[in-house]
Amino acid sequence: MKEKIELPKVLDYYSKSDYSTQQKARFIFYLCIAAIVGVLLLTFSSVYVQLNSSEYNKLFSPVVFSEIVLLMVFGLCIFLLIKGKYSVSTHLFMITAMACVWIVLWVHQGNNIARLDTVILIIALINLTPLFITKYKITIVFYILANLLMLIVFVFFTKDQLNLSNPTAIDFIMDTSIAIIFSGVVGYNIFRINKQSLEKVEYDYKERKKAEEALKQSELLRRNVFDSSQIPIVVMNSNTFEYIDINPAAVKAYGFSSIKASLGKTPIDVSAPVQYDGTPSSQKAVSYIDKALKDGSVTFEWLHQRPNGNFWDAEVHLLSFESNNETLLQFSLVDITERKKVERDLKESEEKYRTLMENMNDIVMMVDNNDKVLYVNKRFSEILGYSESEIIGQIGYEILTSPKDQKVIVDANNQRIKNIISQYEITLKAKNGNKLDFLVSGAPVRNSEGKIIGSIGNMIDITERKQAERALKESEVKFKELYEKSGDAILIIENGKFVECNKAAIEILEYNSKEDVLNIRPSQISPEFQIDGRNSVEKADEMMKIALKNGTHRFEWLHSKNNGEIFPAEVLLTAISNDADKKIIHAVVRDITDRKQAEKELEKHQNHLELLVKERTEELATSNEELLSTNEDLHNQREELEAVLLNLQNAQKQLVQAEKMASLGVLASGVAHEINNPLNFIKGGIFGLEQYFDENLKEHKNEVAPLIEGVNVGIERAANIVTSLNHYSRQDNSNVSECDIHSIIDNSLIMLRNQIVNNIDIKKDYTDKTYSLLANEGKLHQAMLNILSNAVQAIDDKGTINIETTISKNNIAIFISDTGCGITAENMPKILDPFFTTKEAGQGKGLGLSITYNIIKEHNGSIKIDSKVGHGTTVKITLPLNETKK
């Protein structure tokens, strides 16, 4: 399809007409030219025929005239067409053409067929009508009707001339009419269809145009919004992260020179190298982009850097969207540099305050409206001992000691809401249970909307102060009590007048109330003259002066009571202040009436007493003598009793020990027998073995001998212990003979000779008295040997053993004392127990003393051991002597 019709220049008028009009106009234009050319040719041919034809030989003017007229008409048509009168031009052309046809029909003189077929031209012309008509299609109907009318009229008038019968004429009319009408209807409909199609196309086109326009407008609007937005917006390729569109606000925010310079940049070009959390920007950006691609959008804060190096913060709203099947990213920026700075400043200031609070010497505590502890500073933990985790989140009241304090706090909090500042004291329980006093001042904590969300308190530890206060109060009370309850009158004299006094003062002076005493002078509660005859006023002044000068002054004074009664008193004045205008004296007044009286009485009695004393002294001297003798008797009795008691105690001790030994004896004899039997097995066995070796394995004898020897020594030792144990069970007094204890001791010493080294000095002090001692000599020997052996062994290096014997009444006493290591108090009660020993294993069996004890007991004697660690031990053995031989 041709987009544009090339119109002849003359048809410029139609250059803005619609497409069909242009085409029609051009067609008419060329038709008119063709018609003019045709008519011109016709004219020249007819002129030539007329001039050369024998029929005419001259110009046949009606023909030529009509031809010229036709030329003119067509020329007019072109003219009108050019002038834009399209309809007029076309209709003129049509009417002229039709008129010409009809005229030719009318004037034609040829044969019938040649004449009548001209009607076909009419039909042809009618076919042209859709081209000519532009607006009013009804005009086609006029053309049809006009031509039909002309046809009928023409046939009616020329019927005869053409020799047409009526049916033929009607038939012709009918045929021609049908042709005309058909042509007309066809033309009409072609025009209508063309026109309607055109209109439809035109409508559609216009609609489309409109839509396009609207789209264009909205695109423009969007673009304008994008460009003029104050919010920086950037569109970014989701694969390369390059900026593909950016608005001026963004360019400005980024600090680029122009939009052009900004395109193609990536987020890295506008970001700080690392973000606040230390992550590299490139890494963090990718993660946010991934998130936006996945979730559709993401909002985050971003630290940017401009080309000039300045940093700035932005809140970035990044979203992904689809455009032309391509995923793009768009983000808008909000500059939050200021906000961030404020946040930082806030944080810094908060940090500052926190540091301040943490380092404060007082406790700072914050609780919410439900009294839950939100914050405590370090000092809290230091003073009260609770760790932060133990107190935060807890109800603060729980560490109060008195429920009363809770009300104090609640009241204070309510007061503070009304901006009444108050301080109160509370007692808190520290973790270690101590009660601590605090002075609390606080304030409500408000949030940004001014709503109270809790309270903050500053607590000063005033425990010590409180304690001091309490102590002060107590002492004050004590002193007050002392002052008030004092039996002596206490008065304070200021500038010669009483200004204060205690209850005793009022009572002693017999006044009704304190007010009566105050503001009077000491002389006013005194008789006119004192005992030495001096004027009271004068003397009182003097006394006070002395007191002020010396600090204190004690003297006797006569006072008068309210009722005038005079009584002696002892007064002690103590200067408290000696300022010129404030002379204060503390006065203590003691009523000494009774004392004075007693003194007199005493004097009276004294004389009487002296007499009495003389008499009594004589009496006493005699009775004293009597008493002295009685006293001696008593003393002796007491000594005897004490001795008896001591004896009883000893007897008890000995009884206990004897009992112990008796049961031990039974045990020992049983044990001895039971051990001896197995020992017998061993001994028999080893003896048998020895013999066997002697007889059969003589060559092994040397190797076996030490082993057999070992077994024999073992048997020997065990048998000895058992034998020793047998001493406990033996109670016979057989083999009793007269014994010389001194030779027994000497013999024992000889036996111990190898143990007694040179540096042990043995001193003997034997009695000279004769005596008779009946005893089992062997056993006594054993006992002495044991004791002496112990004494020798107690001496480590150098020492002395003293042996002394004495005879008294019916007993012989043997003292054996050493200067050895001694026995500890701890071991003392155990030394007589069998098997008790402090010697190394194998050195001693621990039976010596125990057996000795038993032997002495058998002889009805006693043994007493005294020892002191580091000083030595003394053993005293007492044995009864044979009385019959005495």
């Binding site: 004899s669 001895a672 027998h673 039971e674 051990i675 001896n676 039997n677 020992l679 017998n680 097995f681 061993i682 001994k683 028999g684 066995g685 003896f687 048998g688 013999q691 048997i715 048998a719 034998t723 047998n726 069970s729 033996r730 016979d732 057989s734």
Partner: protein, 121 residues
């Protein structure tokens, strides 16, 4: 060589009997009994016994009781006591009454026993 002296040893401990027998097998012909009553039986059955050694403490009858009974029937035999106990009144009396020649202590001393027996034979 001279015929070995026949000896009866009475003890309730079989181990003692066995050891005694072994140790003296070269010197004496040792017969054993585990109680006083057994010992009496052995004595009636063996007239060649010249020496009797008995333990002191035994179930049934004690060594002294056994010896008292035996001495009635066999007054020519030499009697001895071999005991785990130390000397006591019963033994002391037996010694005094010449019921026994001597008492030996356990663990026994072979030499002492042998010498004593030889002495009294």
């Amino acid at each position: 060589m001279q015929e070995k002296t026949t000896l009866l040893y009475v003890d309730d401990e079989p181990l003692n009997l066995m050891l005694f027998k072994i140790n003296f097998k070269n010197k004496f012909n040792v017969l054993t009994a585990e109680s006083g009553s057994d010992g009496l039986k052995v004595l009636t059955e063996n007239d060649q016994v010249l020496v009797v050694i008995s333990d002191m403490k035994m179930p049934g009858m004690s060594g002294i009781e056994f010896i008292k009974l035996a001495k009635k029937d066999f007054p020519n035999i030499s009697y001895f006591i071999l005991t785990g106990f130390d000397i006591n009144e019963e033994i002391a009396d037996a010694l005094n009454e010449r019921l026994i020649h001597k008492y030996f202590r356990k663990p026994f001393n072979m030499k002492e026993i042998e010498e004593s027996i030889m002495e009294f034979l």
